[in-house]
């Protein structure tokens, strides 16, 4: 800011002092901003721990008390409000969750990865942008709307096409969950493919590989960790989903013997029953134990996804 010949000492001084003052203020602000950002970062960890502790606190009296954990995991008798003998067997609910998630992944993984490959490798310009926006829009549809579609549209359709006795069942829930997981798989999968350096593609093509050969011989192996992470995040999405499965699966406590049997998931059980249980009684607490089980499953899935993604980074630096 210094000019060679200052006409008035006062005029030249004022901008300089302003600048200095600004610097002073910024210098003071810097630690504040730094602290604010640090708090933001730590708060995420804090919230996760607080939620975990809350769920644990509500579950603890029965978890370390009268709940028979063997019965909890191996019995199919979910009769928590029984007047005769309350039973808290969650096997049917566990199997229901596994079945509907498995079916959803069976449908969503090929569809999601296919879409990711198409958008990343075969699509250019405006079409690519449009598809990306549309898929993001798909992710923004609220789960209760998906549930409603399952209940009102897909249910009668399944009854017509398969002759099933009930429209809300495993197949319905699986299809709805698949559609909900696809956007996650597409966007993470596309990122993974984009991360593969162009030199790989150029090398493959210069060796005379067709586009398809390039995708499945070069890109898939190169991006396999990222693609696996995409699938696992899809699984996480599907396991945690509540409202849509509550409406679309039929909510019946039984181990399914066919694709069109109604089932019930762990999440839907909590959603349907917690509201009307008496706070503090056994039924209420056992629902929190189910919450802990879901916590553990979500943690395992996310941790695996994380470790897999870390695997990519190591591979790339090698």
């Amino acid at each position: 800011m210094s000019s060679p010949t200052p006409a008035h000492p006062l005029e030249s001084q004022s901008p300089r002092s302003l600048c200095a003052r600004l610097h002073l203020v910024l210098d003071c602000l810097e630690p504040v901003v730094e602290w604010a950002i640090r708090v933001c970062g730590w708060s995420a960890i804090l919230f996760v721990f607080a939620i975990f502790l809350f769920v644990l606190r509500e579950a603890a009296p029965v978890l370390f008390g009268k709940l028979n954990l063997v019965e909890f995991f191996t019995s199919t008798q979910w009769q928590p409000s029984s007047e005769v003998r309350p039973q808290y067997g969650t096997l049917a609910l566990l199997v229901g969750t596994l079945c509907v998630t498995g079916l959803a992944m069976l449908l969503a993984v090929p569809l999601g990865l296919g879409a990711a490959v198409y958008i990343s490798e075969f699509c250019t310009g405006r079409l690519k942008e449009m598809l990306k926006i549309l898929i993001e829009l798909l992710a923004a549809i609220p789960s209760v709307v998906w549930g409603f579609i399952g209940y009102v549209v897909l249910g009668p359709l399944i009854m017509q096409l398969t002759g099933a006795a009930v429209g809300v069942n495993l197949l319905n829930g699986g299809i709805i969950l698949a559609l909900m997981s696809v956007p996650v798989i597409v966007s993470v999968g596309e990122d993974a493919l984009k991360a593969v350096p162009d030199s790989y593609r150029e090398a493959a093509i210069s060796l005379g590989a067709s586009r398809w050969e390039m995708v499945h011989r070069v890109l898939f192996p190169a991006a396999k960790n990222g693609l696996l992470a995409a699938v696992l995040l899809g699984v996480g999405r599907a396991i945690g989903e509540t409202m849509a499965v509550l409406m679309a699966t039929g909510h019946a406590v039984q181990i399914p013997t066919s694709l069109v049997d109604p089932i019930r998931t762990l999440t839907a059980t909590i959603a349907a029953e917690l509201g009307e249980t008496v706070a503090g009684e056994t039924h209420y607490r056992v629902l929190f134990v189910i919450g802990l089980v879901l916590f553990a499953v979500a943690f395992a899935v996310n941790l695996t996804a994380d470790l897999v993604v870390k695997g990519i980074r190591r591979d790339q630096t090698d």
């Binding site: 199919t76 008798q77 979910w78 009769q79 928590p80 409000s81 029984s82 007047e83 005769v84 049917a92 249910g155 009668p156 009854m159 002759g163 006795a165 009930v166 429209g167 809300v168 509550l246 409406m247 039929g250 909510h251 019946a252 406590v253 039984q254 109604p262 019930r264 349907a272 029953e273 509201g275 009307e276 249980t277 039924h283």
Partner: protein
């Protein structure tokens, strides 16, 4: 003194009516309280749940003005209330809870007994196919049981009346609300479900119900619920310690009036008239 009270009431809502009791009736009591507050902002009605027994105990102790119950007061409770307040508690039937048994309109069945319902819904029940009820030509023949989540009041009442409090068989499709039961039955030809009579739509059929197999079925009509001949019905009552007076009496009178009874209908229950 009355004038003084009224003058007081006009300035701020100091008149409080305390209502406590049945969880089944909490929704209806809340809806009454809200409607009444719109009509008379100077009166505030406080509603607590907890159960019929809790409401009665509270009435005996003088902690509430009205007790909502979905059962009659027991002899012992009446004695206690009389000892405490000097007068017999007074029962006011304010509506009926009647459960309709719903099937798909294409189902030729017209009548069912409570015994048969117990065999269909009960934990050790043996009826799983429509042909066992003499209904033939149903797609798949399998009976699709539509029930409610096990923490709902309707579930508890159905279990009490039909199964004498034994467990329900697992594997039923458990709808999350009274309307959902009816909507699901309307869409599922092989289904049978229970829900408040007031939730009937043209897309479902309500069955006549008898106690025993072979007896003539009682039609699920408002009259039959009111005169208690329809098997799956129970009165919803409010108890007061002695004859109601003052604001409590005015509130009860309003509950019996057409606008109070409209609330009963809106919530799927059967009105008294």
């Amino acid at each position: 003194m009355i004038a003084g009270c009224l003058g007081n009431a006009r300035r701020d809502p100091t008149t409080v009516i305390r209502v406590e009791g049945s969880d089944t009736m909490v929704n209806i009591a809340q809806a009454w309280a809200e409607q009444y507050h719109k009509l008379r902002p100077e009166v505030s009605v406080q509603v607590l749940g907890g159960g019929s027994g809790v409401g009665i105990a509270s009435l005996i102790d003088g902690n509430c003005d009205m007790a909502n119950t979905s059962r009659k007061m027991k002899e012992k409770e009446i004695e206690k209330a009389k000892a405490r307040h000097g007068t017999d508690p007074v029962e006011h039937v304010v509506g009926y809870d009647a459960l309709g048994i719903y099937v798909h309109p294409a189902n030729p069945l017209e009548c069912i007994s409570v015994e048969e319902l117990a065999e269909i819904f009960g934990v050790d029940g043996t009826i799983t196919r429509w042909s066992q009820l003499g209904v033939h030509g149903m797609p798949g023949d399998k009976i699709i049981r539509v029930s409610r989540q096990n923490s709902s009041g309707t579930y508890a009442y159905f279990r009490e009346v039909v199964l004498k409090n034994r467990d329900l068989k697992l594997g039923s499709v458990d709808a999350n609300g009274s309307k959902d039961v009816v909507a699901l039955v309307a869409r599922t030809p092989g289904a049978i479900g229970y829900s408040g009579m007031g939730y009937a739509t043209p897309n479902v059929k309500m069955l006549k119900v008898s106690w025993r197999k072979g007896e003539p079925g009682i039609a699920p009509t408002i009259e039959n619920a009111q005169n208690n001949s329809y098997p799956i019905t129970r009165p919803l009552q409010i108890y007061t310690a002695g004859n109601p007076i003052g604001e409590v009496k005015k509130y009860l009178d309003w509950i019996f009036s057409p606008s109070g009874q409209r609330v009963v209908i809106e919530l799927g229950y059967v009105p008294i008239r």
